[in-house]
Assembly symmetry: C2
Homo-oligomer: 417 residues x 2
Amino acid sequence: MNYRSAMSTIPKANPLRVGFVGLAANKGWAIKSHYPAMMQLPSQFQITAVLNLDLEVSQTTIEKLKLKHAKPFADIVSFAKYDQIDLVVISVNVPNFYKLVIDLFKYSQENENFKYLFAEWSLGRNLEEAQEIQELASQRGIHTVVSLQGRKSPYVLRAKELVSGGYIGEINSVEIAVIGGFYGYERPVKSPDYLYELESGVNLISVAFGHTIDILQYITSSYFSQVNAMIFNNIPTQKLVDENGKLTGATKPKTAPDHLLFQGSLTQGNVPVSCSLKGGTPVKKFTKNLIIDIHGTRGDLKLEGDAGFAEMSNLVLYFCGGKPNEDSSTSAETMEIYHLRNYNSIVGNILRLYEAIADFHFKTNPHSKLPKDFARQGFRFDGFPTFSDALEVHKLIDLVTKSHKSGSSLKVPGLSH
Amino acid sequence: MNYRSAMSTIPKANPLRVGFVGLAANKGWAIKSHYPAMMQLPSQFQITAVLNLDLEVSQTTIEKLKLKHAKPFADIVSFAKYDQIDLVVISVNVPNFYKLVIDLFKYSQENENFKYLFAEWSLGRNLEEAQEIQELASQRGIHTVVSLQGRKSPYVLRAKELVSGGYIGEINSVEIAVIGGFYGYERPVKSPDYLYELESGVNLISVAFGHTIDILQYITSSYFSQVNAMIFNNIPTQKLVDENGKLTGATKPKTAPDHLLFQGSLTQGNVPVSCSLKGGTPVKKFTKNLIIDIHGTRGDLKLEGDAGFAEMSNLVLYFCGGKPNEDSSTSAETMEIYHLRNYNSIVGNILRLYEAIADFHFKTNPHSKLPKDFARQGFRFDGFPTFSDALEVHKLIDLVTKSHKSGSSLKVPGLSH
């Protein structure tokens, strides 16, 4: 049983030509994750364009990284029209994303080579933005990829294997407790303000909750049927600290939440799920700062991490359960602790997304049976999360906000797009 | 700092004369908990009457336990009129309690010695019954005691000491996960039906949730301000098992819930609390089956137990924190694991309730400053939980049911009685 990517052969065709928005040699997420991942698949991907607001950044990046096939850009208009791009990767701060992608679609109308668009979660600042972007891509017939990369974590996939193989029986409860990193009592002086502003759409709910709950739904192969949420901003003022963690004496206001209580039931099996997501430094002493506890009629699964970023953390998976379809009185119980000591989860999970894109494009994975018009990964093992999958998470986040504001438990509407 | 009972002196007065309803030598809760507890305080308590529906049970119990001062009873009328009783202890199944206690009040009108009434949690089947009973006792000026004995657990008291001493700073989140024991996939053939019937009022919510949440409120010295609940009955049919745990092949319907999701905020500090209470056998492999995680700005507290009965389990308390009122950059962090290996929590917690009653009656505890008309323990260290405290828990349980039925998050009204 191995549903994971079987990427091994070198494609006969030319590599996918990548136009990268937001790749800078000296800072940012792209250089830490996307770039080293892509470098491991040189026959499948080739960077042909780099766009940053500052042309010099694009030029320096191309130079430093020795991207000999790449052309530097500083404006989205000419980038969008450049015909040497098959795959556009956009890795910018969420608040800047919307306008960029709208312009990309606008000015790339005549550009027939543009076939793939890879964007960071959370796609838009809110459900409406995400929906608009998804529709634009869908109308143009562009294949989309969203970095809900937790779905490619080996721990998440192993957990999903065990669940779908029946090794913990029917799931009957889930508990999640997470500390999200930001949004605590202190804020680094250098930290950008938008991280602490409600409107930016980058916060504990969109990031920590979004990734975590997508992972849970993916593992259990079930969406939610009803939810209730309570959102807290118990730390409206943060103390600023310098690079050494010393208090500077200054403070700044915070409007983003620092705690989310979420509970609900999964459609499949009416499973109760309890979820407590906290902002701030991961300091819990008697439990790990990321816990996903999944209980079933035959056993348990536990995912543990050092902080509430399951999608980019090196986790530990604990499993105890039994083989299905045996007489329960005699079936042997199996234990497994799954941990890849040297796994670089920041690069690794993103790498597996690129592998999945290559699998789809070059049809290199014989196990994969993705249709040509593959538009949503849903709960499949193969493929990759698309904007359509991202919308499902946005719908849930939207309900979280509505539930909190209205003080109601809300039904989750079924798949609608 | 020792707020615990300083019971040590032998009272000069006569012992409190106890009329015991539901004490049977060969079975039941009373003989396992109340009786051995009371036997450790022979100068303070003396059993003078035993009431069981079957006179023979009362007689045999008196004989076997050598209760030479006790008179056997088989009807509540003559028991209520018997003038050799100061303290009535009623330890019967909750569904039988209401009629008994109503009759007790009715027929004891002329009995001036009847001063104390000790009843098992949950007092009544629901808020209305509990309210009526509380009012009757209050009108008569009878001192009441309810077996929310978790408040006397040494682990709970130590946790409360640490919290109120500021050793974990301001509490900023709480997570509770519990497996409640009953209400799972299987039911012992001998188990009485009422445990699995919603109407009986003895279930996961009244028992496991009631005790656990009372303990949490007591430790944190805070009631809830808002709550949301989702109640599940995912196992509407249970398989019957014999004494050896073997399936008999028969099944029985179950209307009582098997899962409660509860979340809300404590009034004090607007603290988010997440709570998942599950029915069934405690089988979690990678976490204890009773967890109360309390996080603060200075440290953490964790209470662990083998199953979801914090009020009668021998727990382990983990503490990590620091002394308050010190410069946080220099204050030393303290660790403590608190566990009394041989502590008999079934007897011990009840014993401490009896000690507290004796402290109050004989004024034997110099630390205790209870007023003469002591009517509610609230969050005091000394004293004992009264029917008035029980009502607070019933109000919360009532809101749990209402929140579930209405699909709303509900505000908790303030203290009203």
